[in-house]
Each structure stands twice: as C-alpha cells, then as structure tokens.
C-alpha cells in the first residue's frame, strides 16, 4: 500500500500526483512562463534597438574643415585671442602677447578652447614650430557615440557641437576622445559643462568664418570644404617635398577629422597620438552593442529551458526517492 506525505494510505500514486504543498507539478508553470515572456517583452521594448547598426554612414560630403599648416605658424597667438573674444571668455592672467606661456605645455581646458604650444624645430633652431590644439571635429566622433544622453551632434557643416541642457556630467566623452580634448568645468557647482572648440558654429551660421581662421595672419589656418582642403594640402606637400612630412594628419585617423594638419616636423614630436586606428572608434563598440538585443531574446529561452530541465530532474529524483522510501515502508 502506498502512503502520501502525511502518512495516509492512498490507492495509487496517480490519485495524488502532487507531492508538494504549493509547487507546480510539471516543469515550468503557466504563471512562470507568462511572467518570463512579459518580462522579456518589456525588457526588449525598453532597450532601443540599434537601427542600422551594421550599415555604413557615408558622412556629410560637403562639410567644412580646417587646414592647419604648422610650417606657416609664427606663434603670434592671434588665434587664441580671437577665440577668447569670440566666445566671450574672461581674459587670461597673461596677455596674448606674452611668450612666457610657451615655456610650459598647455592644453585646452574650461578656460581656453584653443592653445598654441611651441616646439623646437630640428631643421632650423631659429624658427621654432608651433602647434595649435583644439577639438578636431572628427567625421565620426567618439565623444558623440559615447554620450549616453546624445548631447553631442555632428552637424552637416562639420562642427561637432554640444548641448549643455542635456549633459549630466558623466565625462565618458572625455574618456572616449582619442585626443583628450573635451574640458570640463569642474570648478562650477551648479552648471558644470563640457567646454571645447565649436568650429564657431554660431558665427558660421551667420555667414562668417571661424574666429581663429579669420584672425590668423600667416595663413596657417584655412577654413574651407574638407575635400578642397585635402587637395590643397596634397598639392603643398607635392610642391615642397623637403618642407613637409608626407602625411596629412586627420585625413584617415579615427575615420578622418574635419581638422587637417600638415607639418614640417614629425607629428609624434608635436604630441599627436600615432597609435590611432584608421576607422572610426565607434565601430569598435558596434559588435558589442548589437549583441545586447540578442542576449535579451536568447537568454530567457536558454535559462527557461535550464530551469524546466532542472525542475523536471528534481521532480524525477523526488519521485524515485519517494518510491524507494515508500517501498521500504511497505515491506516492513
């Protein structure tokens, strides 16, 4: 005679299939299945899918850029002054005619959107080389793809602009920028924000050219369509092979930047990173991002299966144990 859990005799095991008080008897219950599906559905809806993540962006073909020719720069700092004034920034401690600033290496920050640094020219010690540093307005900017709140926009004109009304200050864009450009106003308690060159987006929309290009007397900074500037740069290098390094920095680095550079001194000596890939940095994260929705769709199925298999196994083991136990009882 079989007995149930409470020790009461039953006629056959089939009459009392449920051995536990509140657990479902078969694999995965309807309730669990429904809740899993609903959760999956809600989660999948909640994660925006990467529309066209694997398709290629052809870029804005008629966008503008800047050609900077380091062989022409004389370090007059007119560009710094023009930028400072055009953006309404406070005057710096040392005036723009001061050359003692060249003794140390400076970098764009919340106080200055662009700086010029001086380097020794190995070809001619009497004529130092200068390098102007500012945002490169990449064609496919890492900062824009890194921003979780989409506070950056790559405009068709070429400028990469930032919206401080969205930014909550995570600084992931600063981590992502291969050139370490974005500055953050850490000293502000209530309105800290990213500060970087805007390619004078406001001036350009009014029909003017960026302040630094306008101010530069030496023709070291030229504003024009990127495709035109590339032609000019190539011609300059071709016509003066002894004067220039045979490389246009920014032509292909990280997928190309709006700001192009030609120089007589090797770019690494001027502090340009030389280990950057030729493709846009955001392509390095595409593979992972496209895997996320796949995880959401496959894991519930996989783990649901695991769970029901486990439950089935436990059930079977429990029944076998019961049978064995009850058989023993019966034989007493």
């Amino acid at each position: 005679m079989y007995k149930n859990k409470k020790g009461q005799p039953i006629e056959s095991i089939e009459q009392n299939p449920s051995q536990e008080s509140s657990r479902p008897s078969r694999g995965i219950s309807r309730r669990s299945f429904l809740s899993v599906s609903m959760l999956t559905g809600c989660a999948a809806l909640g994660v925006p899918l990467q529309a066209g993540a694997l398709s290629e962006f052809k870029g804005w073909p008629k966008s503008y850029g800047m050609l900077t020719d380091f062989t022409a720069c004389v370090g007059c700092r007119s560009c710094e002054e023009a930028c400072n004034k055009a953006n309404g920034m406070p005057a710096p401690d040392k005036p723009f005619t001061d050359d003692s600033v060249f003794r140390e290496s400076r970098w764009p920050s919340a106080a200055a959107l662009t700086v010029v640094n001086r380097f020794e020219n190995p070809k001619d010690k009497t004529k130092p080389t200068y390098r102007k540093v500012q945002c490169n307005h990449c064609l496919e900017p890492a900062c824009a793809s890194a921003c979780p709140i989409h506070a950056y926009t790559k405009t068709p004109e070429g400028a990469v602009i930032y919206n401080e009304d969205l930014c909550f200050g995570c600084r992931y864009c600063v981590i992502a920028c291969p050139f370490n450009i974005p500055g953050y106003s850490y000293e502000s308690a209530l309105e800290p924000k990213i500060i970087k060159c805007t390619l004078c987006h406001v001036r350009v929309s009014k029909g003017q050219i960026p302040a630094c290009a306008d101010a530069c007397p030496a023709g070291a900074i030229t504003y024009g369509k990127r495709e035109d500037l590339l032609k000019i740069a190539r011609k300059r290098i071709e016509d003066n092979p002894d004067k220039y390094i045979e490389h246009i920095y920014g032509e292909r680095e990280v997928g190309g930047t709006s700001w192009l550079y030609i120089s007589g001194v090797p770019f690494e000596q001027l502090g340009f990173p030389s280990n950057l890939p030729k493709k846009p940095l955001l392509e390095l994260t595409e593979g992972y991002l496209s895997a996320v929705p796949v995880i959401f769709t496959t894991f519930p199925a996989i783990f649901g299966l695991v769970y029901s298999a486990m439950k089935h196994h436990t059930k079977k083991a429990g029944k076998e144990e019961e049978h064995g136990h009850l058989k023993e009882d019966d034989n007493e």
Partner: protein, 133 residues
C-alpha cells in the same frame, strides 16, 4: 626702423612706387610705411612678390581677372598689381585664394620670420610692423 623716403624709380621702363603706406587697419595699428624700392632691390626679380603669373599660382586666370576687370586692363599696361588687386576678402568656397591679410603676411614672412623676434615671440609682430595705437 629708419624709413628713407624713396622716390619712384624707373625699372625696365615702368615706374615703380618708392614707398607704400599700408593703412587698411588704422583702427588697431599705426600705418606701416613699406619701402618698396629697398625690397625690390633685395628681391631682384619682381615676380618674387608679384606672383600673379608665377608657377606658384594655383588659380586659373579668370579667378583673379574676374575679380577686377579694370585691374586686368591696368595690369596689361603696368605689368604688376598690388596685393589688393587680387586678394581681398577671403571666401571659404575658394580656400586656395588667401584673403588680403594672409597674402601680405604670408609673402612677407617668407623672409621676415627669424628677423628679430618674429616667429619666436608675439612681440615680433610689433617689432616688425604692428606698432599698436
């Protein structure tokens, strides 16, 4: 810098200016008196500065001649244009054509960078030309 008031001279049958006063930006800087005769002598060849027809020009004829039809006529008679004859306001759609300011400086810098502090300090600008008002 001592400025000798040079008289116009005749070179190859053409009268060239002795000195030229450049005062486009009078508001910020004092006018600059440019000793054309001395510089012409230093250059040796007019085309070194007046490069409108040199192989370094990347513009096609009409780019300059369309700017100023009178200048074309004048240039046919006089031979050389002042910088402002071709270079005026910069347009980003013609990036190969510098504006007047860049034309001045780029040309002069070819020799002047390295003289005094020009090129090694912003003070060089004032030393060479730009005495502030």
């Amino acid at each position: 810098m001592m400025v000798l008031k040079a008289m116009p001279v005749l070179v190859e049958g053409m009268e060239i200016p002795g000195t030229i006063v450049i005062d486009h930006i009078q508001k910020q800087y004092n006018p600059v008196t440019f000793d054309h005769t001395m510089h012409a002598g230093l250059a040796g060849n007019c085309g070194k500065c007046h490069h409108q027809h040199s192989e370094k020009t990347i513009s096609v004829c009409k780019e300059c001649h369309a700017l100023n039809a009178d200048a074309f006529k004048a240039s046919a008679k006089e031979g050389f244009l002042p910088c402002s004859g071709c270079h005026s306001d910069y347009s980003p759609d013609a990036p190969g054509m510098p504006g007047l300011k860049v034309a001045f400086h780029k040309k002069c810098f070819e020799c002047h960078v390295g003289i005094g502090e020009l090129g090694s300090s912003p003070r060089g600008c004032a030393q060479t030309c730009h005495t502030k008002k």
